[in-house]
């Protein structure tokens, strides 16, 4: 495996982790807001 290959693998892993983190964060906020609406609305 060349250093370029390794760098590309790390870049993709980082991008996927970031995307997953954003999706999870979005759902945390969504569930929080839905809970507020369901309990108060």
């Amino acid at each position: 495996m060349t250093p370029e290959d390794e760098a590309e693998i790390r870049r993709r892993q980082k991008a996927r982790n970031l995307a997953l983190a954003l999706v999870l964060l979005f759902f945390v906020v969504l569930f929080y807001v839905i809970t507020l609406v369901k309990t108060h609305g």
Partner: protein, 316 residues
């Protein structure tokens, strides 16, 4: 160096493929974003045109779940059809046939997205909408993709039901029950799908034939397909107008439905009557396909506009 094909040399100078981790964009591509835009739009129109009220946050959650369900079903479709997609020019560059994504990753992603969409819909909105969403996913991923598509030229006719669910689910998310109006919205997309898809199949039929998919033009021939396109366009006129005829909408929708459906019918006539010759460009078929997309957007937009005008007392 391409994204898909990497090789690495080991100590014996043999080469073996190096599978890179899939890019997040490849997962996004699995959800068929262009198809999803139509799903989101029709689901949103069903939700906005329904009588009653839904909290905007719950309405947003309902549309998100419809989109996630459609994306999950699309991923399962691509997982199952990876071999077929590799044989068609239109689909050969998708993440699976091009080798950018592992097949089991696509399957797991599709299952996870589908289950999450149904679960969130049930918890946030209600379980009737969630059940309809589950049925629509199974309908597309199993009934259409696995069962009908490789077996019968009627695949599009019956499989069109899968694409017809979003406005029904959107409507039911608001009202909590199934009535004639959302079933008519379902019927409109159901009867719109064959002429929409067969118009496309007429000018990409060589690809479907190569992939062994029994599309109507391949199995029954062009003449039969063209006649059936016309038949469905004729049927679509009363079906599209039915929501107005049963008193479910105002005249703005009724007039729009009649004008748009007649235009669709008029464009289908040359497609039904002519015989394609080599190098003629298939313009009537391409025009009909393009109009079919506009037709659905315009018809459902008219439904929402009509509802807004009626609710605000601008029209009776």
């Amino acid at each position: 160096m391409t994204r898909a094909a990497y090789t690495v040399r080991d100590s014996m100078s043999n080469t073996q493929p190096l599978q890179l981790p899939a890019d997040w964009r490849d997962f996004y591509a699995l959800t068929k974003p262009r198809v999803m835009s139509l799903v989101i739009f029709s689901g949103l129109c069903g939700l906005l045109a329904a009588p009653g009220h839904i909290h905007p946050v719950l309405g947003f959650a309902a549309i998100l779940c419809i989109a996630m369900g459609a994306g999950g079903a699309a991923a399962l479709n691509m997982w199952w059809e990876a071999d077929i997609d590799a044989n068609m020019r239109r689909t050969a560059s998708r993440p699976l046939p091009s080798g950018r994504l592992k097949r089991q990753d696509a399957r797991d992603f599709g299952i996870a997205l589908s289950c999450a969409s149904v679960g969130v819909m049930g918890l946030a909105v209600h379980w009737l909408a969630a059940s309809l969403l589950a049925v629509s996913i199974v309908y597309y991923a199993v009934v259409y993709t696995i069962w009908l598509k490789p077996r019968t030229p009627q695949n599009i006719v019956i499989g069109g039901g899968a694409g017809a669910f979003p406005p029904l689910i959107g409507w039911v998310a608001v009202t909590g029950h199934v009535t004639a109006m959302p079933l008519l919205l379902f019927a409109i997309i159901f009867f719109w799908t064959p002429p929409h898809f067969w118009a496309l199949a007429l000018f990409v039929k060589t690809d479907y034939a190569k992939a062994g998919i029994p599309m109507m033009p391949v199995v029954r021939g062009e003449v039969s397909t063209r006649r059936q396109i016309l038949a469905y366009c004729i049927l679509l006129v009363p079906i599209a107008a039915a929501p107005w005829m049963i008193g479910g909408t105002g005249w703005v929708y009724g007039a729009s439905a009649i004008v748009l459906s007649l235009a669709f019918l008029v464009l289908s006539v040359p497609v039904a009557l002519r015989r394609a010759v080599d190098g003629d460009g298939m313009k009537p078929e391409k025009r009909l396909f393009a109009f079919s997309v506009f037709y659905l957007f315009a018809l459902f937009s008219a439904l929402v506009v009509d509802h807004v005008l009626t609710v605000n007392g601008i029209i009776a």
